[in-house]
Amino acid sequence: MSTKFVYADNAATTAMSAAAVEAMRPYMTENYGNPSSLYSVGRRARRGLDEARAKVAAAIGAEPDEIYFTGCGTESDNWALKGIAEAKAKKGKHIITSSIEHHAITHTLDYLKRKGYEVTYLKADSNGGIDLEELKSAIREDTILITVMMANNEIGTILPVKEIGAIAREHGITFHTDAVQAAGHIPIDVKDMNIDLLSISAHKFHGPKGVGALYIRRGVRVPQLLHGGGQERNQRSGTENVPGIVAMAAALEEAVKNLEENGKRVSAMRDRLIAAFKDIPYSRLTGDPVNRLPGIASFVFECVEGESLVLSLDAKGICASSGSACSSASLDPSHVLLAIGLPHEVAHGSLRLSITDTTTDEDIDYIIETLPPIVERLRGMSPLWEDRLNGRF
């Protein structure tokens, strides 16, 4: 086993930043009070909560009273979709989405379909982009919600959320975006981008796991998610995860403050990976070559299988992930890779390297020298590879 350790799976989760850890510590020790309590230790917790709300709001161009803290990005997505579906059921039951959403969206929509809602999936082009004209023509009298992610978690493509939001608003349709992979990595301004609801998750931007937020624009009505003690302005009861929330706010504030500088540096490292692996034959970049998240470099390598790549990289101390069937519980490769038109057999050979601001140039060097021999070794034992080289397919 290698002593080297390179974490290149930051789209799965990130390490907490020192600022986030420091911010949360007092809320586990001296400021442990319940924010709903009247005495000093409770008031200190309340103050921490209020400040966190203001910071999260500022980071996305929202007002503090438009921020609702949740337990994770998935909860935010579930609340937004089921909430709008219920609130608008009288107007209609039609929802529009993309073909490359996270399972937190697709499986929630599957649930709504079983409840009688109808869903239109916009086609993805080969880069993961969508056609705004197709969106316009998909809109119907009974369309109540458009939900399209801000940036894709597997292939890194950034979607034209502002334009989608403008179309939604023009038609009086509520617009939700899953910004879980985007927040803290690319600029977000909910007002400028015409967003009605937006989901984020702390652990994707160096905050803790188990905490997220849903932005709900003032004036958008969503039914209560949890009934109980009336926390989160009665919308999401349950004693607040104060340490987690405070840490999320600290992490997001820091990420947004350094967004431009980190974006440039991380993109440059990402582009080194892309340039290095472009020369491996029968491989290609997945996602938009330009309009993509700074930290995601995603590829397919024909005639090798993604889980084998991931295990081989792990043996060399590199953490990465794959959308291949074998790396998950299901036997289908990722729906995102199929949606961008990759055949099953090619989608099986996917690899995602996701880096962050703590990634170093040495880490990139190490990945660049380690991956090609692994691909070569696996191809050497792949019966598909000999067929490929002999031009049999």
Partner: protein
Amino acid sequence: MYSEKVMDHFTNPRNVGELPDANAIGQVGNPVCGDIMKIYMRIEDGIIEKVSFKTFGCGAAIATSSMATELVKGKSVEEALKLTNQAVAEALDGLPPQKLHCSVLAEEGIRACIADYYKRNGIEPPFEIESCTGHCETCAKNGTEH
């Protein structure tokens, strides 16, 4: 999620590569499903003198190919035909449930290779080659067959 044995056979697969003097070759699986196994054998007087494999697939697919070839090496054809997917999985100290189809594929690969040996000698194989056993959801959905 994988046993140490699986990881060992994945990292250092036994009997990997083509066999230049093979007199039997069998291939099972489908690239759409994400795994293909090709088994090569040199069979002399009914004994598997040499065996090797090439596999496209996940860690379990490579490890089961490696283990299956180890288990049949030096055995008679009749003995090799008794190899079960359970035996392959057990020899690897178990497989995660969603990976059991890889051991099925290994068993089928061995049988397909021996069937090829029979055919080359003008004998109809005295056993059935199981095609897709329905373990693979992709196949079921796409209507394709192994």
